[in-house]
Structure formats: C-alpha cells, structure tokens
Symmetry: C2
Subunit: 344 residues, 2 copies
C-alpha cells in the first residue's frame, strides 16, 4: 500500500477449471505486496512507525473512498476513526483488456472487480474485540456503506466482506483491517448454500436459518451469545474447532439492508464472540466471512445472511482441502461450553 | 501411536450441515495424538530416537496390516522397507453404536471407516523425493494393495490416499508417511469432479482428462515431466502456486487397477516432480492427494484417476476457504517454467 492508484492488469484474470467448473483468480502483482507479518504463525514484528494504515501515513495508500472523521473536508489526513481505501495490490482490478473467452478446455475472463481495505481504527495494535463497541459498529457501518456502493455496479454479482487476523489466517499486515472484494461471480460456497436453503424452503416452507436459530434457542447446547437481534452459535456441523456463526434472529437476506439497531446488535455480538474466542484460545489468529445474498437481489424468503468466524488453530490439512470433508476434533457442544465459561 | 488397538468410539461421528449438505467428521480422540512437529511452520525438532515409525519401535504402533520385508514371517519387527499400520488416533473408527439418523436439522452417522499410515521407509528423515525410485514404487505398491483391500468392504464408498508433509501441510509426525482413509461416502470434491467429467463426456464424447493430457502435450507450456505412462503438468487453473498434477497418459479410472509398469512410471514421475518442487521452492511443506473412482466402480470411460500435489507456501486465507474461490499469485505457465529450469 504505497500511493499507487489501482488499475486493472492483463495479469489479473479468472480461469475456470474445465472439470470441476471452479474459478481461480490470478493476481501476479500480489507477489509484490509488503508483509510485516511473516509466514506461518510467526510472531508479528510490529513496525507501527512504517505502517501504511497508521495516521500520518495516509499518502501511502490510494486515496480513501470512505472515512469516518470529524472534519469531512480533510480527506486522506489524520483525524479519522475508520477509513476505507482501495487495496494497492488488489486480487481483482478495473476493466480488463478482453471479454470472456473459451478455447478448447481453456476458459477465462478478465479478473475485474474491486478490492478494498477497511482500516478498523487509528490504533496500530488494537484487535477488534478490544475496541469499544462503537468502534466495532463503525467498521460494520463502513462495510455496509461500501457493500451497497460496490453492489450498485451492474457488472458485480457479489461483494465479499471478510477479515484475516494474524499470519496463520492469511493476513500480511498487522494493523487491524477487514476487506471487501467485489466479484463478477457469486462464490461457489455461497451459491451452494443458497441452493441448499432453497431446497429446504421448498420442502419445509420456511427459512432453514430461521429454523436453526429457533431450534438452537430451544436446545441451548450450542448457543454462545444472544441479544435483541443477533444469535451467536456453534453450528451443528462446524468444520473447525470453535467455529462460531452470528445469525440475525429475525429473517434478513441482505446484509447491506441492515438497519442501525441491528447493526449495533451485530457489533455487540461480534465483539462479545471475538472476546470469548480471544480469552478461551489465547488470542488466536482467525478469519471471519460474511455470507449474504448476491448484489441487487430482491428480498429472499429462503436465504438469511450470517457471519462465519473460524479460529485458525491448525493449518488446513491436505485431506480437508482435497476432499471437501473436514475432520474436527472438537464437538460444537464442548466448544460452546468453553466459550460460555470464560470470563471476559 | 503407541500400541493401543483401534476401536470405534461414540465420539467419532459424521454430521451433516443442514444447508450446504457437507459432511464433517468428528474425532475428539485425535486431540490426544502426539506431535513432534509444532504448529504453523515451525522447524521440526526431530526426535528420531523416540519416533514410533522408526525400526525397533514396531510395538509402539498397532500391529502392521502390510509390510515389505525380507523375512515375511517376522511381523512387527525390524527388517521392513515399507510398513502399513492402523492409525492409533484414527479420524474414523470401527463399527459404530447407531446407524444413520436425522432429527429436525440434525443429521448424523457413525464415523466408521479405516485410517491407516504408510510408513514410507525405515529412514527417519528421508523425504520421498530423496529415496531411490524403487522405494517410492514400494510406497505406491503398498497404497495400491491397501486401497484394494479396504475397498472390498462393501460399507466403504471411497478410499482416500494422501500425504501431509511438514507442519504447514498438517503433518504431526516427521518420519515420512502417507495415509489412507476409507470412508462410507464419496468426498464432495471427487463427486463434483466426476459430475463435471461426466457432463464433458456427454457433450464431447471423450474423457476430459485424456483431452487435457493431449492438449497440454501439444501446447507444452504447462508440462513439467513426461515418461512412458505418466504426464506431470501445471493445470490450466491451479488453486495454488506450483500446484502440479500427475495424470496417466492413457485412460484409467481406478488407481488400484494400475499395472506394475504404470506404477513404476508413476513412481518416477512423482519422485521427479517432488524433487523439482523441493529444489525450486527450498524444500516446501506439501500435500498430495489421489483422486480416483469410488470403490468397486466399473471401469468409467469419463473419469480418469490422477494425483494432485500442492506445495503449502502460504496459509489458506479466509477468503479462499469461505468462498471456494482461490487467489493464485503464480500463473501455471511461469510455475512450469520454474520447475523445468531447476537442476536436480
């Protein structure tokens, strides 16, 4: 992140595997991005004085596209509390040189889209769960605003909001940040989830996530936190130890339509869940990912947005990656009990 | 791995996610397994004197189910070159207490199956690519024999042959070993691949892998190695930098039916590919996984077994895991060129 503007590059393209149909994004420029976190699981050597996300270094990032600041006239200068900038080493870029093409077994598209970074706070070393709930809410407000904005581009089908915290989770910079990637395709995982939810709704006549929240509330063996609006739970079949989902208690398919009250409830639930994970697991590296309806969807009665949080306690083994099966050593009932028990 | 026999346990069960339909294996006993490799990417503190896979320590593993040894009458004693034993901390176990069941959103099955370890050689620190080709061939012969045997159990649908090398790839012990997991289900990734291959065959009338091998041979931009029988290539849309596949040049759907000549060709191709990866990438941690037809399939004209090799250069980031999309910074044409260029 040091001041260049973001342009599409011929080296950024999407290729499709001819057998499975899965898409892969190629982004060779990302090899050049700086790392202040090392490889697998190294302890971060914090270099706050040289961090492009710290106040005073605004010129080292592309110009901001969103900021929460007292003086709104002073863009790209200190005084902000949350700031969103294009990623200098984007996985996806602007318009491409050529349209979709297929030649024999080789199918490709330009890897266009947008890749933005939400700088969570001016504090270099603050983890999301240690910020005041208002600060967490500002991050979510930034995500909601940028998802709405990016989703208005009719070339985009999906905006992925996610966070990599720590080197084991794939983060390359230490300063707390989340990310948004706008894509011309709906990710396969979300597509499959929507299909599964649609099949359930067809069979049962209700939203599967609404039924899940109700059942978990009754059974109370996997609940982690609940407030007026949000339910945090260990799902029935988590892929990883301590995987936790935050699901709106009332039906809602698109995150970007969340009202302010629900956004505050989400901020509380997210902060509480992350604080419990932090305490129970000794500040683990983690990812979270939002699953939400594709851009510009009508309200979907069968789909329900939710946030999935995965602590990264072990590397994902080959068996998991290569089969789509995961082996989890921690039943969710035990994980939920552990998370409930810690004092935060 | 210390002498206990393998029994099924109630804590080993398969649970199905009610939305996506994906299965997760729960195996709480695996939390107790020993590690001589640390967490993410730590340098192994080799403890060969206490290694349960080293000669002289045969009593520390469950009794062998297969071995290549000069005196076949001396089971579970030194003198072997390759040895297969049940995993002491299996992901799947023997028969379970209860059959498949579904209750509301909660679907489960017993996690029965088998989990075996192929100890590649008596040498504690030898990496597969450093062994003589005959030793690599012995490992593959062991895999073929055990896959055939495990696949005769009609409760099993698939036998997954794979290897985790190094902590970043999910290995917990340093002594070179591969693994076999027999499962009552076909893994989702293989299922999807078979469906994609069937669609292609329906449309085009040929096997997609046969066409791929022919096209890559003509184009020669992604070839890594070829001998009489096997083709090693960087695929068109690899998920990871330096991902390499080894595909039989002639059509074959089931690995366990491989004849001795093709097995030797595979040993050469695997050894050569691993040696090139080792040299080009400074001895990376890696996984390989075999994709093959389900147990007891008839010969399938549309499906083609192959071995997928992934160096683990970076942790899998949240974006990748949560979307099914991967971002790859290395075009396969460059990766193949790098692998061809090193001297081994």
């Amino acid at each position: 992140m040091d001041g260049e503007t973001v342009t599409g590059g011929a080296s950024r393209e999407l290729r499709r595997d001819p057998v499975s149909g899965r898409w892969v994004l190629f982004a060779a420029e990302r090899r050049r991005r700086p790392h202040d976190l090392g490889g697998h699981g190294t302890v971060p050597g914090a270099a706050a004085t040289r961090c492009p996300f710290c106040p005073g270094h605004e010129a080292e990032t592309p110009p901001e596209v969103y900021a929460d600041r007292a003086s709104p006239d002073k863009a790209d200068a200190p005084g902000w509390t949350t700031r969103v900038v294009p990623n200098k080493y984007p996985a996806v870029g602007g318009g491409g040189a050529h349209g979709p093409g297929i030649e024999g077994l080789q199918e490709r598209r330009d890897g266009f889209g947008a890749h933005e970074v939400i700088i969570e706070s001016p504090e270099h070393g603050a983890e999301l769960s240690e910020l005041p709930v208002e600060a967490v809410e500002r991050v979510l407000r930034a995500a909601r605003a940028r998802m709405g904005e990016l989703g208005r581009d009719r070339a985009m089908r999906y905006v992925q909001f996610f966070k990599n915290h720590g080197a084991a989770a794939g983060a390359s910079l230490e300063h707390g940040h989340a990310q948004l990637i706008a894509l011309p395709l709906v990710p396969a995982v979300v597509e499959e989830e929507m299909q599964g939810a649609a099949r359930y709704a067809e069979r049962v006549g209700r939203c599967v996530y609404c039924d899940m929240v109700a059942a978990e509330g009754r059974e109370a063996r996997r609940l982690v936190y609940q407030n007026d609006g949000m339910t945090a739970l260990a799902p029935w079949a988590p892929r990883f130890p301590y995987e936790t989902w935050i699901v709106p208690t009332r039906h809602a398919s698109a995150f970007e339509e969340t009202d302010d009250g629900s956004l505050r409830a989400l901020a509380q639930a997210l902060r509480e869940t992350l604080a419990r994970l932090r305490r129970a697991l000794d500040a683990p590296h983690y990812n979270f990912l939002l699953h939400t309806a594709p851009c510009r969807s009508p309200r979907l009665p069968h789909y329900h947005w939710h946030l999935e949080i995965f602590p990264r306690l072990q590397p994902i083994a080959g068996f998991e990656w290569g089969t789509g099966f995961t082996i989890n050593t921690m039943p969710p009932e035990e994980a939920a009990a552990d998370l409930l028990q810690v004092e935060i």
